[in-house]
Symmetry: C3
């Protein structure tokens, strides 16, 4: 990894040059883990104890944190998360990539078109009439089907499978082990067996999408399963046939979107969320981890729970459920009391 | 994709030849998406608005739908879903496959037996004594272990791994990225560590099974993990060691079946369902998405919820839970009322 | 598979030699499935019916089971599970492996260091400066990134991807289709798009870890995502960036650990459990299947439910929930009764 001096990092963060500006910094770490050549960060008062004990060469601190008097080098910034991201961008080592051109151990169909400046690694297979744009990298073991179109400056990590007739925009990242274009899960009972319903559609992945590892995005029954521009999908997510996802969504690990469900723009789904088939989640809506969304969700609402409810309602119900065992006891007691009252009235 | 005339499609659907029977149709799409050269469909009254606005060349409509007077070409059929499936079968383009024979970039063990008419693609590895039946296709990057037996007319999509000694029937489809035959997850604590319990069994996949992408089916501790004939498994499903699945089941995405669980015939499990180890789900039973099945389920019952309950009971409980916060308030109120009554009686 | 005589197996189990000690035994199976040349086992009274009907050559029985008088050969042992594991170890056929050395169809970087006695199979790719220890096996289609360090006697099954700069200890097993070192899922909204936060850390897998198939373990934002020694991870598990897992944990299939969550030593997580980001699960704690852990869990506690609660509390709440619909009816009845009482008092 590259290294920087304290002074260089101060300048990057628009902070005054510290004492010992020439000290070499080799990376970033948490307050607990940072060594004397590393930078760390303090985002909230909750970590002040760790701040005092830290061995870091310097600490990036949010302006909102009440940093105590210290001899330590502190870079005070408006937003520590953003500052850390900026520093990480400098430290980030380049991703190792196969050299531009087609590796001798790749198998590329004669009718495929690999742009100048694209890189095709070893053990890669590219099908007939497939197109790969300039700057795009196909890492080792990737399989690209016939008639696939991949835009420019995409990065397809090892052992990804992109089945026939799929289209990817520009600057798309697909992480290792992911599969695009499996037939949608559609059968009809013909009296003796589940007969396969042909899935003749495709998958369209728009510009600037990133897709995690071991994600499955199924081919549409007809027309296209679609992932909107700038959407980010975490690992092990299942996306059924004919799902349409809007732009700039965030879909966390192990989410499952059943067939023909729709997400608007800027939707955020927490880990392990399930969305029922044909359900629509409106623009800007978000769902807490593990929610099961069985009905349409209005734009800009927050839901949680199984089944998913408006978040506040879910919190209220959960709080009430915590008190339910006691409520049953109180009910027994009150019933007994009322019976006694009744008796005492009848006796009067 | 192939194209058809309107007249050819009318004949396929047993409908009278329409006006303009020579018009060329290029595919199928939803009412909202279909262009003037595409066919669409109307399965329920709910979509009548879309029907009026549609640009499709013709619309397949279920007899039960009250289709309004229209100059549009409408094919009235008993079952629109079935009719669409029939049309899709005609439009379905063939799956691109490696040519029959063994690709020069495949590695096939000298003792493996590849039937005439089987196709082994590039970067495929086939182990010692493995047998691959006629008509079977091993797509790019597939890895077949020693002593595996694969029947006839199977299709194994790219980068699938089938470990040693697994057996597949005929017409089995395994989608990209799936792994069969990993050791079952079994350990015993030996006082200092989790010692591995050998998993010496196998996996048997019967005829006409389809398995999705990134599915994991583990090898049995002994004897076999078994997938019954005609069963269909969606993506990202986990099937533990010694699971036995009956024929014609439907297992939707991200389901997890723990070790030694059993599904009868025709069981349907919704997405993300979990089944506890050693639990039996009876013939014809079905479980709603996200159910957690912790106890045996009787045949032909419907369950839902976490934990899974009879579906009607779950609906009743959920409806009651929606009213629980109000119930707590009512309880407080009633307790106060009873206390007042009591006081007023004592005062009398 | 190897075979043994009944007498050899008796000796292995420290049992007296049976009548017919020379009979050949070919394997182990359940009481229902075992044939006349197989061994079976009886771990509890619940299976006595199956014991009577069994065709097995001999049965291993736990001392605690009240085995009836029988002419059948029975090996009585303290712990049938342990005895079966011991027998399975003998019957276990060796895992087929590529021969030591580098296969001619592998692509190993000139600067990689493959120890003597390591085996690199066909279609494997090993990156620059990677190190592979003695006795380690890289099965077909494995992709090892630049600067990866793999210890001794590891086994990496087919099509696994280990991205750049990851470190594995000794005797690590990684099952087919798993991906280590994908970028953690981290973005910041820059006003117009989700900008990627560089993930410059790594993954460290300690000695004697086993990882299932299609597991995703993400690279840390900085420093390392860490899997403690002797921990065992089942299939389809998601492990986010900067997660730290202690030694000797058991993580069952489809679990999801969000970023920066921490598991202590000896933690057990049932299938499909979710752990929220930055949450700590204490040493020796365990969580029932499908739990959603949203807050820190104290050491040696058992939790279950969504959200996860102390297990006994969850059982109490679930029992109360079963009675909630009836409680609502009782409430209506009691309210009516109190209204009547009130009226009758006012009338007096």
């Amino acid at each position: 990894m590259p290294t920087f001096t304290l002074g260089e990092l101060a300048k990057l963060l628009n902070c005054p040059a510290p004492v010992g500006a020439g000290a070499v910094i080799t990376g970033v770490a948490t307050l607990q883990e940072a060594g004397p050549q590393e930078l760390s960060f303090l985002g909230s008062d909750a970590y002040l104890d760790q701040f005092h004990a830290a061995r870091a060469a310097a600490v990036i601190a949010s302006r909102k944190v009440r940093v105590p008097e210290t001899s330590r080098t502190v870079f005070v910034v408006d937003n520590a998360d953003l500052a850390v991201a900026q520093v990480l961008e400098r430290f980030a080592p380049p991703v190792p990539r196969p050299a531009p051109g087609v590796d001798s151990a790749a198998r590329v169909a004669a009718t495929a078109v690999i742009a100048n400046g694209a890189a095709v690694g070893p053990m890669v297979v590219v099908g007939a009439r497939a197109k790969v744009g300039t700057g795009t990298v196909l890492h080792s073991g990737v399989v690209i089907g016939d008639d696939v179109v991949i835009g420019e400056h995409c990065e397809i990590f090892p052992n990804v499978v992109i089945r026939e007739r799929i289209t990817l925009g520009n600057r798309v990242i697909i992480n290792a082990g992911t599969v695009l274009g499996t037939d949608g899960f559609g059968y009809r009972w013909d009296g003796t067996k589940h007969a396969k319903i042909p899935q003749i559609g495709t998958v369209v992945v728009e510009d600037d999408v990133e897709i995690g590892s071991c994600v499955c995005i199924d081919r549409a029954k007809f027309s296209a399963t679609r992932i909107g521009k700038g959407t980010k999908i975490d690992n092990l997510v299942q996306i059924g046939h004919n799902v349409v996802i809007g732009p700039h969504c965030i879909i966390v690990g192990q989410v499952g979107l059943a067939g023909s469900s729709r997400l608007g723009a800027g939707v955020v789904l927490g880990g392990q969320v399930a969305v029922r088939d044909h359900v629509t989640v409106g623009d800007g809506a978000s769902a807490g981890a593990c929610s099961a969304i069985a009905n349409d969700i209005k734009p800009n609402t927050i839901v949680s729970g199984t089944p998913a409810l408006p978040h506040r309602q879910n919190l209220r119900e959960q709080a009430a459920l915590r008190r339910l065992p006691a409520l049953l006891d109180e009910m027994r007691k009150l019933q007994a009391e009322v019976a006694l009252l009744k008796k005492s009235i009848e006796e009067k």
